[in-house]
Subunit: 329 residues, 2 copies
DNA sequence: TTATAAGATGAAAACGTTTCCATCGGGTTT
DNA sequence: AAACCCGATGGAAACGTTTTCATCTTATAA
């Protein structure tokens, strides 16, 4: 029996006669033969491997729950097609694409999952130029040229804000991440839509952008700047409700409000497991993280297989918990 | 210039003359040549790839903070030596080793990191039989034949219990995971040591084994069995302090105590980020997760490079926070 | 019976490296 | 000057597949 025939058994079994196929099957199961992936990849170019390259400057990202859930779901989806995933970090903060170039040149993977989209993203530019397969989680303004999976951020911002309005809030603080982030811009749009629907004037003094991770990781007793500054804004602007664009910052906000003895409703975004573990449990906009991961994996596989793929926006959902429910009449 | 010479440039540069080396360097940097990893691996057997295969039946594991921190540190260490990591799940719960066999036969990786050690571990048996390189996180009773990295669980159990004793506790509940787990057995030993040192009799009615994840994920208002059962035990046994063998269960315990209005000190184990975010912040035994991961990566690389490697036990540390400090005199 | 086609199988080249062995040139020893 | 050695380089085989192309077998049609 020639190697060619064995190869066909694995790759084009329909081209073998029933007799031969059965004979090979027996021997294979008896001796447990498995083709060498490297040799296979070397010749056929198909490696059954994808890479996810995480941002160097935001490694803390990995320690947040979002990524754990995301990667578990992605892994599950990939393994359905016998694909594996390599995880690594960008080597350079300024030139994030060089790690991608390394992977492309080494010829180690079939495609990439790209997270944490930026405006004018060098990684995307590189991957497009080199005709590599990839799918992004989230998108940016130029989202025409590539395949992305994202949630409906506008709707998320709307639902959160509208919920606060329904509780009687009129001066709603939006505590955001960096506003150059497309996600954040979309959520802000939803926020504005909700205000407009309720006839409330938009006031950009109520929009706070930046990194509020320290809200969560620091302890309010230590009186870090952000705690006191935020309290001041809340009092001076007579804030009566808060929409945080991530659960992590929302939890920090809850901690701050508790310590500063301010009692106003808070809505988060993401629905990480911790949201239902905290005290009070957190009202939030649930992103379908698992589904996003699965879709992304699926679309990437489709692309690698040479098929055309559509981008997709997934719906979000308002999950009402104690951080707002206690303000309901 | 022959391919042989180029190959030498990458693998044994010292064998080239300065002149040749410099000439190659120039061309390489100009055209950005990178050797094809697959071809390299095919011939040399060295793939620069390791695998970490997660337990199928405990996928929730991945969503807990421990793993995020662990894998980030491991990734960092591996990338120092230009090694990459494949993450995937076991395919079968009953036969966890078959996924390992798949990887060995496919010839895709140089070695494995094995987490979640069990007594009589089929995976370890398989890897030893096949002379594969691997390092385990934690150990079991047969820890002689392989390289492991672990923390000092006995000391951890001792520190936690002793701290509670120093607060005046005499009837200390130990809320454990599964006791067939070697980690847990070691922590129990530390618990016993501390009692003995204080002249307190050991009482096995105060040891509770099992999966208390639901303590955290369920809400006490929903009155799941474990909440009421635990409360009953705490009252009937006149428990005056709790040592939980994981932070996750400790946080659940704090939630339970708050809702049942019982005020006793609690110590956890791990020091996940959430421990300092919760209210009250959690006193806990800090495992050097990052260091464990780095050491494991380092030792695996050493093994792959053909060097002998020693197992290593790392120290733990008591971190005192609000969940016990408020009981200090 | 022979020609033709279709299906099944095999031989050999190719993928891009590393490794083994041979060769070449120049310096040192005899 | 011959013999020897050593460092530097190159040629060719090898790694284990997939792919292309050729061949062989068998059934069908002329």
């Amino acid at each position: 029996m020639s190697t060619t025939t064995i190869s066909r058994y694995f790759n084009h079994p329909e081209k073998l006669s029933d007799k031969t196929r059965e004979k090979i099957r027996k021997v294979i199961t008896k001796y447990g033969f498995v083709p060498n992936e490297l040799a296979r990849g070397l010749r056929s170019k198909r490696k059954n491997l994808v890479a996810i390259i995480l941002e160097k400057d935001r490694q803390v990202f990995l320690s947040f729950p979002y990524f754990s859930i995301f990667s578990a779901s992605l892994l599950n989806r990939l393994s359905q097609d016998k694909m594996y995933m390599i995880t690594t970090f960008e080597e350079s903060e300024k030139k994030p694409h060089i790690t991608y170039r390394g992977f492309v040149q080494k010829n180690l993977v079939d495609g990439f999952i790209v997270m944490g989209m930026r405006e004018d993203d060098k990684r995307i530019k590189f991957l497009l130029e080199h005709n590599e397969h990839f799918v992004t989680i989230g998108r940016n303004r130029k989202a025409k040229n590539y395949t992305w999976v994202d949630c409906d951020n506008v709707q998320g911002g709307f639902l959160a804000t509208n919920h606060l309005i329904s509780l009687g809030c009129k001066r709603i603080l939006m505590l955001g991440g960096y506003m150059d982030n497309y996600d954040m811009m979309m959520r802000l749009e939803g926020y504005k839509n909700a205000l407009e629907g309720a006839g409330i004037n938009y006031n950009d003094k109520l929009i706070l952008a930046g990194d509020f991770t320290s809200l969560v990781l620091d302890h309010p007793d230590q009186r870090f700047a952000s705690y006191d500054e935020l309290k001041k804004i809340i009092v001076e602007q007579r804030i009566d409700g808060v929409f945080c664009t991530s659960d992590v910052s929302a939890l920090g906000m809850l901690k701050l409000l508790k310590y500063k003895k301010i009692d106003i409703p808070v809505v988060g975004f993401d629905d990480i497991p911790l949201a239902m573990m905290y005290d009070p449990t957190l009202t939030t906009i649930k992103q379908p993280i698992k589904k996003i991961a699965e879709k992304a994996g699926e679309k990437l596989i489709e692309k690698i297989n040479g098929n055309g793929v559509q981008s997709e926006e997934l719906p979000v959902e308002l999950i009402i918990r104690e951080s707002t429910s206690k303000f309901m009449k």
